[in-house]
């Protein structure tokens, strides 16, 4: 038998806490670059297989000065923006219509289900036949790739709209288009933005693929061409630019989302 005692309560859940470790985040990224640079400096890996980060940066600078970089980035951006905008606009429109109108759903759903699984890049030869080898076929394949995630996400967002809010809007005199504009669309906005982010990834993928298949300019062309002539540094510049494009589009969409969906962030 033990006598009277006093035990202090310990915080037993301490190990469950997840602090942010900001420094570690930066260090991980910097560490990778330093390791990479070190590996290439030591000469264990020939520059043909893996150019050094500093070399890639230098090449990037030279291409910027010569203007070559902007020719390719400009051509790619044009295709990306046009295709993305067209695909997103069409996707939102079709998503809203099929989500709201039963008749549009009956017509649209089977068509979308049947065409959605086609890998869009497989359609490029057909699009080239129809639209020619120039810009329209590349823009079209990107638009197609963005259209499907947008239409499907928007549809889901519209279906998820709270029926109570729709009833409330009708109770206050809203008609069909007012309901769509003031209840359905704002309800679907978070899903629409999820679709935009998904679509941005698809767009980048299709852009590069299309430029590798049939283009004289653009980052996809740059990467393929550099590979063919074994200019690995230039190839890496293309990859770095692509990754920056991906990051940038994601960041821009997140910013837009904060502006468009303020009630979720306040």
């Amino acid at each position: 038998m033990s006598g009277p005692s006093r035990v202090a309560v310990q915080d037993r859940a301490a190990f469950l806490r997840r602090p942010e470790h900001r420094l570690l985040r930066v260090a991980a990224l910097a560490g990778l670059l330093v390791l990479w640079e070190a590996l290439t400096r030591v000469g264990w890996i020939p520059a043909l297989f893996l150019p050094s980060p500093v070399g890639v940066l230098r090449e990037l600078g030279e291409m910027a000065v010569s203007g070559q970089l902007f020719v390719h980035v400009g051509a790619s951006l044009r295709r990306l923006v046009l295709g993305f905008a067209a695909g997103a606009a069409a996707g939102v429109a079709v998503g809203v219509l099929t989500g709201f109108f039963a008749r549009a759903e009956a017509v649209g759903q089977p068509l979308i289900a049947a065409t959605f699984p086609i890998p869009k890049i497989a359609l490029l030869p057909l699009l080239i036949l129809w639209l020619g080898i120039g810009e329209p076929s590349k823009v079209a394949v990107i638009a197609l790739g963005v259209f499907f995630p947008m239409a499907i996400n928007t549809y889901a967002g519209v279906r998820e709209a709270d029926p109570l809010l729709v009833r409330a809007a009708v109770a206050f005199g809203a008609g069909r288009w007012s309901v769509i504009r003031k209840v359905i669309l704002p309800s679907a906005l978070p899903m629409i933005f999820a679709g935009l982010k998904l679509g941005a990834g698809t767009a980048l993928l299709l852009l590069v693929a299309a430029e590798m298949i049939a283009a004289e300019s653009g980052i996809g062309f740059l990467v393929l061409h550099a590979g063919n002539i074994m200019d690995t540094t230039k190839l890496m510049v293309g990859i770095v630019v692509l990754s920056l494009l991906g990051l940038l589009s994601h960041w821009a969409l997140a910013r837009c989302e904060r502006l468009a969906v303020p009630w979720r962030f306040t």
């Binding site: 009833r167 409330a168 809007a169 109770a171 206050f172 007012s178 003031k182 209840v183 704002p186 009630w263």
Partner: protein, 260 residues
């Protein structure tokens, strides 16, 4: 305007094709400036009745009429919902303005009415907040302001305070009475709470459980303006007991069937 509910019945058909009677031959009249409570056990079709009056549900048979002087552009009804049903993407001001937008009210009038009803419901200083930044009581204030702003002939309230805690509910009841004293918009107030009904209403329409029928209409002889102290008065107790007597057997039957 006077509202006449004329032998209204509503039958739902479930997925198995079974008919389920929700309301049966409901007849009642709401006079201008009157506060009528509709009271019944859960599942008596109270909300269905309000839905039909608001034009949000079709009746199976019977009709609802509004008769009397109607101001230009005045909507027949506006509804205050149990779950508030505020638009989360609109600020307090935007929510209150919603009905006025749909009425296509002139901007100056819109602004004036929004300001007036925001002040009347005690929402000043919260105009730019989103609903999720407000407490339940404040949210329902927005719901009430949104409904009153369109100046409806009749205000329909579907258990407006049942989602609130007891203290907030009591305060909101007092506030609603204060607002009603000022606006004198007729109100149809659906509730399952006897105290609430007797405290606020001129008449309490008691419904049976499914299918809902009017069992009795109990007048409440309490002076206005009303205050909490009246809850001990004989007229209050008498009315409350009479309603409980009407509803008790219904509630017990529902409990036995495991449907309450």
């Amino acid at each position: 305007m006077r509202v006449i509910v004329d032998r209204l019945s509503k039958t739902y058909r479930d997925r198995g094709g079974q008919d389920l009677a929700a309301l049966e031959e409901i007849a009642l009249t709401v006079e201008p400036e009157e506060f009528v409570a509709v009271l019944g056990p859960s599942g008596c079709g109270k909300s269905t009745l309000l839905g039909i009056m608001a034009g949000l549900l079709p009746a199976t048979s019977g009709q609802v009429f509004f008769e009397g002087e109607r101001r230009d552009g005045q909507p027949l009804t506006a509804t205050v919902f149990q779950e508030f049903a505020l638009f989360p993407w609109r600020t307090v001001r935007g929510n209150v303005e919603f009905g006025l937008e749909e009425l296509e009210a002139a901007p100056a009038e819109r602004k004036e009415r929004v300001a007036r009803f925001i002040a009347m419901t005690g929402l000043e200083g919260f105009e730019a907040k989103f609903p999720h930044q407000l407490s339940g009581g404040m949210r329902q204030r927005v719901g009430i302001a949104r409904a009153l702003a369109v100046d409806p002939a009749v205000l329909l309230m579907d258990e407006p305070f049942s989602a609130l805690d007891a203290q907030t509910r009591t305060l909101m009841m007092e506030e609603l009475l204060g607002i009603w004293e000022r606006t004198r918009t007729s109100i149809v107030y659906v509730t399952h709470n006897i105290q609430e009904a007797v405290y606020m209403a001129d008449r309490v329409v008691v419904l049976s459980r499914r299918p809902g029928r009017v069992i009795d209409v109990v007048p409440v002889e309490l002076k206005r303006p009303r205050h909490e102290g009246q809850m001990g008065e004989p007229a209050f107790v008498h009315a409350a007991e009479r309603i409980w007597g009407l509803i008790k057997t219904q509630a017990q039957a529902a409990l036995r069937e495991g449907r309450a």
